[in-house]
């Protein structure tokens, strides 16, 4: 039975279902229950934006652990526990905070299996907020997906809607490799039909939310919606655009993109991240290598500029790639 759920609630439900199913799943993070050690309500917060609300009531403080403000220690502990048979889901509130615990993620979790000659599994999920539009400024708004995607040994997921968020998070929890699960804070309120039961969406399978023949727009996260908006506009101009939602960035379903470009001959890669060494440049490079002959126009990256995220809405709205920038890029390719 599908209900109309927000992405926030879909994520909560995924955690709930997996915790019910599997006693080795624990969740931890700063204020993910809230109120620890105090005299007021337990579960006072359920995470800074309420995503994990209600879990402590169902599973207790042994499985829903508030942490001190020591990301290296508790993210590392989640990784260590994963290497010892638990399946921790650790919240890194804003993934921008990765800078204080990146070693545990990229030199430890990501490399155990390889360094140890295959004899390690680290089924940890690190979930946190990404992206702009919240007026949260330079240190709370970044789209650091390219950095995580660069690292062998990590899997990187960034859903664009509530349905995918639930299926991908359940897959992430059941997955036996370390997963960075990127939740766009400006999509938390977005609604979709979401089945009540557990389901998984496999990694490395892009979705095609809109089919078309004239050009391919590749996006992920919030940019999928901008791409679809651009496609609407272009449809009115009789430009028939295909939109691909990558869903997972590592592994990446480059085949679907290549097939699409072989059909359309045109590629616009949209990325909320900064431009250099971005997902957009990665997609363009891979696709050009594989579908060069089919390409009718120069591929184009639409990304945030090479600047930190500005605070003021006046600038942040210009910073985040817009539907009109995307549409304009396609129009140019059609000429």
């Amino acid at each position: 039975m599908a209900r109309n759920l927000s992405m926030k609630d879909a994520i909560n439900e995924a955690l709930d279902l997996e915790m019910r199913r599997d006693p080795t799943v624990i969740v931890m993070g700063e204020d993910i229950a809230g109120g620890a050690g105090g005299q007021g309500e337990e579960d006072a917060w359920g995470g800074v934006l309420g995503v994990t609300k209600g879990l402590i009531g169902k599973y207790g403080a042994k499985r829903v652990m508030d942490t001190p403000l020591s990301e290296s220690a508790y993210i590392g502990a989640a990784i260590g526990a994963a290497a010892c048979g638990l399946r921790p889901v650790a919240e890194l509130m804003f993934l921008d905070f990765m800078g204080v615990c990146f070693d545990q993620i990229f030199n430890q979790a990501a490399k155990f299996k390889y360094m140890f000659g295959g004899k390690a599994e680290t089924p940890v999920v690190i979930r946190g907020m990404v992206g702009g539009g919240f007026r949260a400024a330079a240190q709370h708004s970044q789209m650091l997906t390219p950095i995580f995607t660069h690292i062998p040994g990590l899997k990187v997921v960034c859903p664009s809607n509530a349905y995918d968020a639930k299926g991908l998070l359940i897959q992430s929890i059941r997955d036996n490799d370390p997963v960075i699960f990127c939740e766009h804070k400006n999509l938390y309120a977005s609604m979709a039909d979401v089945p009540a039961e557990a389901y998984t969406i496999p990694f490395g399978e892009a979705a095609i939310p809109r089919e078309g023949k004239s050009a391919t727009i590749v996006a992920y996260g919030m940019m999928v919606h901008r791409a679809l908006e651009a496609a609407e506009t272009l449809a009115k101009e009789k430009i028939d655009v295909e939109v691909i939602d990558l869903r997972t960035l590592s592994p990446i379903d480059i085949d679907t993109v290549v097939e699409s470009v072989e059909k359309t001959g045109r590629l616009v890669a949209v990325d909320e991240a900064n431009p250099r060494c971005s997902i957009a440049s990665d997609v363009i490079a891979s696709v050009t290598e594989h579908a060069f002959k089919a390409m009718k126009a120069a591929p184009k990256a639409i990304t945030a500029p090479h600047t930190p995220v500005p605070f003021t809405p006046a600038l942040e709205d210009l910073y985040i790639p817009s539907a009109s920038q995307i549409a304009e890029a396609v129009r140019k390719q059609m000429k």
């Binding site: 105090g38 006072a44 403000l69 204080v100 919240f134 330079a138 240190q139 709370h140």
Partner: protein, 327 residues
Amino acid sequence: MSNNPFPLPKEKLLEAYTKMKTIREFEERLHIEFAKGDIPGFVHLYAGEEASGTGIMMHLEDKDRIASTHRGHGHCIAKGVEVEGMMAEIYGKVTGSCRGKGGSMHIADLSKGMMGANGILGAGAPLICGAALASKYRGDGGVGITFFGDGASNQGTVLESMNLAAIWNLPVIFVVENNGYAESTSIDYALAVDSYIDRAAGFGIPGVTVDGTDFFAVYEAAGEIIKRAREGGGPAFLECKMVRFFGHFEGDAQTYRAKGENEENRANKDCLKIFRSKVTKAGVISDAELNKIDDQVLARIEASVQKAKKDPLPTAKDLLTDVYVSY
């Protein structure tokens, strides 16, 4: 009004009161304006904690530097950053201290020795070690103060910096502003040691705990350790125990608090009330004098809000500037 029992002359007491009151009204007003929906982003208010920043900053000059936190408005004001620029910044205007690019969590004014509010917990501690190193290198007698909360006191950066400051004998004061909560989490959960003084001792740094709602307690303790640091005596640790009047950030329902906690704080732990009562009871300053300051402060805040609302926004050309000195 002749016998002044306080460690500061009357004009300095008036200055301190003005700073504290300015912080208070700045924050009270933001609380109201935020509720109206006019202010973008996250806002963390310093109301209730004024005596800490002010008591310390009364000892500082422009050459002294501070590194602040996400809850930085009070530190900015106490260190001399212009209220008008701050207000405009929080409204995202091009006239703001950071031309609208930083917002509440990133207000800075290096010319005043204010090295920035900071959105990353504990990040100021290494930075202030560097500031102090620069002062020591030049021999200019400057000190560095890094502020962090009880929650952030568990960040590796803060802990590493304590060791660095100790072995390099840097003129750094580590100030933990202990308001009992990190977001919704009580310090009783996050700290296993009884006292921050023990923790500081574990790094070879002398420490002192004071009642952070008492301006004079903060002022005196800070004075001593700042003087020592200036004279080459090395780092020190200061714990200010205090209360935060509002939620963690604006929008926080604060259900983690005990019943009546906020009311009790407002009634009995209001550093402004405590200051007022001390200086008036001692007969050094009259209520009328303080009321006059109150009026001036309120007018200034009102004007800064009105100006901020009217000020222009940055425009497209501002998006790409200020990333590099040259590129």
